[in-house]
Subunit: 253 residues, 2 copies
């Protein structure tokens, strides 16, 4: 049981009960980066170049929902063989190119567009907050994105990870327990020495069930202005913060 109940955010003092935490691992899509805004932006640029009238907001939302979220659920149920996130994204992209009447792209162009998920932009507070946090903690993504995706994304956006933890390393997908266990096992830490930071309550609940500490950073714009919102934080989450700068303050960095 966490000994630091969810309390209102304050600038200080830092939460001493979290002193045992040595590593912070982060959900990435939505939590660290604005996947929706980034995909829409590249889609619009592609549309202008090809002279297409496509609803790129709908295109991005469908790609994410059907091609990633639902597809991961199918892999976890055994309805699809295991494949990494790049392969899942490509599967859905091929279907949507046809459904949206986008024709004439060369294979290299389709592959490039599929890798838009490697080129997502961080939220404005992400890199400044992580830069503060890295003085005290080992920082890593803990994401269902592929290993190459997470590596390329960090290099492009200068995200200061200390290592890359992709669930591809254990051929599992969050919220499988194997995904969370990988984090503390590879870092040679106890579960309570690792905190998952995420914008998604379900991810945090699964991490907590595996013994990890939990940091909730809601991202109200993940699904766009007026988009669906995550639920109120569980009372059991260890830290709730409005962004990564606030999280750094709460954790004493």
């Amino acid at each position: 049981m966490p000994d630091a109940p969810n309390t209102p955010e304050t600038a200080d003092p830092p939460d001493a009960s979290l002193d045992a935490v040595k590593a912070l691992v982060f959900d990435v899509f939505g939590t660290v980066v604005d996947w929706r805004g980034s995909v829409i932006r590249e889609g619009e640029a592609l549309g202008r170049r090809l002279g297409l009238a496509v609803d790129w907001e709908r295109f991005a939302d469908e790609w994410r929902r059907v091609g990633y979220r639902d597809a991961i659920a199918r892999v976890r149920r055994g309805d699809l063989p295991w494949m990494n996130a790049d392969a899942l994204h490509r599967r859905q992209l091929d279907a949507q190119l046809q459904a949206y009447g986008i024709a004439g792209l060369a294979e290299a162009e389709i592959d490039h567009f599929n890798r838009v998920w490697h080129r997502l932009d961080p939220w404005p507070d992400s890199v400044p907050g992580l830069t503060r946090l890295r003085h005290r903690f080992v920082l890593s993504p803990l994401s269902n994105g592929s290993f190459a995706l997470l590596t390329n994304m960090a290099k492009r956006a200068a995200i200061p990870w200390d290592c890359i933890l992709s669930t591809e390393l254990v051929r599992a997908y969050k919220p499988d327990a194997a995904a969370y266990a990988m984090a503390h096992t590879l870092l040679n830490l106890a579960p309570h020495e690792v905190m998952l930071v995420a914008a998604h309550a379900g991810d945090l609940r699964a991490a907590r069930a595996c013994g990890l500490r939990t940091g909730y950073v809601p991202r109200p714009l993940e699904h766009g202005p007026g988009g669906p919102q995550e639920p109120e934080p569980d009372a059991a989450f260890d830290v709730v913060a409005t962004d990564f700068e606030a999280l750094a303050g709460r954790l004493g960095t």
Copy 2:
């Protein structure tokens, strides 16, 4: 076959035939860091504190030779069950503490000393050279060191890796082919788009057999002044450089 035969080192022009290389992966112990000097230094400090007369050069060399090199060979032969480098190091440390008559250390002190391998210092040219190379290439260790060891070492010494590739991820040890295949598979690259950089000819030969490009950076002081030397470079190695700064020059960064 490499199309860039081993040629004398020159400041420029960069070797155009290596244009396909997108990632550089590095052997670590001996190639990036001075394991011997670092272990001796911490050993001497421990000896002073405990008032011990121990030959720390011999201690370090034996720990490395028996506890790591020979032990990895035994794991690869199946004479020892798979365990990561920290466990191999600890196994030998326990034996040597007894053999050298070093008694009275608390468990936490032994564990700390075992992690001296997480606190190795880079050669003076390593971080400056990598800092140049990272503008053009994805950089990663490709080491038999444990994932936590490589992560902690990089954080302490500010080694600018983009990700951490430990052979622990595939429960293999170099020179097993699985170790080299992991590198290009996880980075989603073809074998010839990845170059192994190492101070050890045997490592490079095994990488080359798996299709990787090869960069040889001899480290004549790895085993101390007057210590044993690696053989002359194979004619088949793609690049030979005296240090990481020279390697950066050869690769056009």
